[in-house]
Assembly symmetry: C2
Homo-oligomer: 157 residues x 2
DNA sequence: CATAATTAAATTGTGTGCAATTTATTTTAA
DNA sequence: TTAAAATAAATTGCACACAATTTAATTATG
């Protein structure tokens, strides 16, 4: 056992770096896509896309919000959010109104129809049941780690 | 303490279901987007988009592949994959050739330029260093749970 | 062996997602 | 107090992502 072993181990490690199985980014990307795919059909039944569903969840939880704050909460800028909100408005789920006190700001609020939709939406999360083979504890751990990772990304530099 | 408590607890639980913090789908969606955002700049320097990077990692690991198998590995269908592969071909990183034995199948292989790119790509995963505040153990746990969850979604029904 | 069924890519249409820019409004400062 | 800086949405351009359909080739079957 001379220097050969060390060198082999080092070069083996290096060549492993880019393998899909050793990456965090790949399962994260793929898993997020698969979950969105699973939600698509049940969401379609209540008239929402996935992104619209995320927006509606924020509004159901926090009520009326400025477009800016809404975007910060779900990590979307106006380039994505404005068209999504216009579609939700066209579907009759939200109102978009400029604040009189500051005409730059668009206030988003729920219509009656938007409020009522919450009841129908309560069964949506069950779409994952049976599709993701994790125990309750694993699920809680996963959610916790994702939220912690997400927290870290807020400090941009 | 009559039946009131039970009812309150039940209805409280119900109203919690759709809160962002209680959902798996939201941190998964948001975290995946943030990671892709972090990778964007370093990837741009070596001439790749995020999806192209995922494709190249598969090719670096497995070599020549049929478009179909490639798509299955990264959960993408031809609707997304065909244009991505055409761009990678135009950039000179891959070749696309119909199999003589079966003209339906497109075989994807790396060019010299595509092979050489692997060296430059080895530093890409470091982009996450400092952006995600997880210990090594947490990272391994997170990756493991994501891969396990991903595995479950393969059985569609 | 000829037609039906299957398979693999490609195409089409809709909906994000984001960087960069533009427009309108408000705040800051000279 | 007015020109400059900052802020919030909207717009533009490019790149996915996917369902649904189409096209071309191969395999299965009567």
């Amino acid at each position: 056992m001379g220097t050969g072993e060390k060198i082999m181990v080092k070069s083996a490690d290096k060549s492993e770096v880019l393998k899909l199985g050793n990456q965090l980014c790949f399962p994260l990307y793929a898993c997020a896509k698969e979950v969105i795919k699973i939600y698509r059909k049940p969401l379609e039944k209540i008239g929402l896309t996935y992104t619209q569903y995320i927006v509606m969840m924020v509004l159901w939880e926090f009520g009326k919000m400025k477009e800016k704050s809404l975007g910060e909460k779900i990590y979307l800028d106006s380039g994505t959010l404005t068209p999504v909100l216009k579609k939700l408005e066209k579907s009759g789920f939200v109102r978009r109104e400029r604040l009189k006190a500051d005409e730059r700001v668009v206030q988003i609020s729920l219509t009656d129809k938007g409020n009522k939709l919450k009841e129908k939406a309560k069964t949506i999360p069950q779409a994952l049941d049976g599709c993701i083979h994790l125990s309750y504890d694993e699920l809680v751990t996963l959610r916790g780690l994702l939220n912690k990772a997400l927290e870290g990304t807020k400090e941009k530099y």
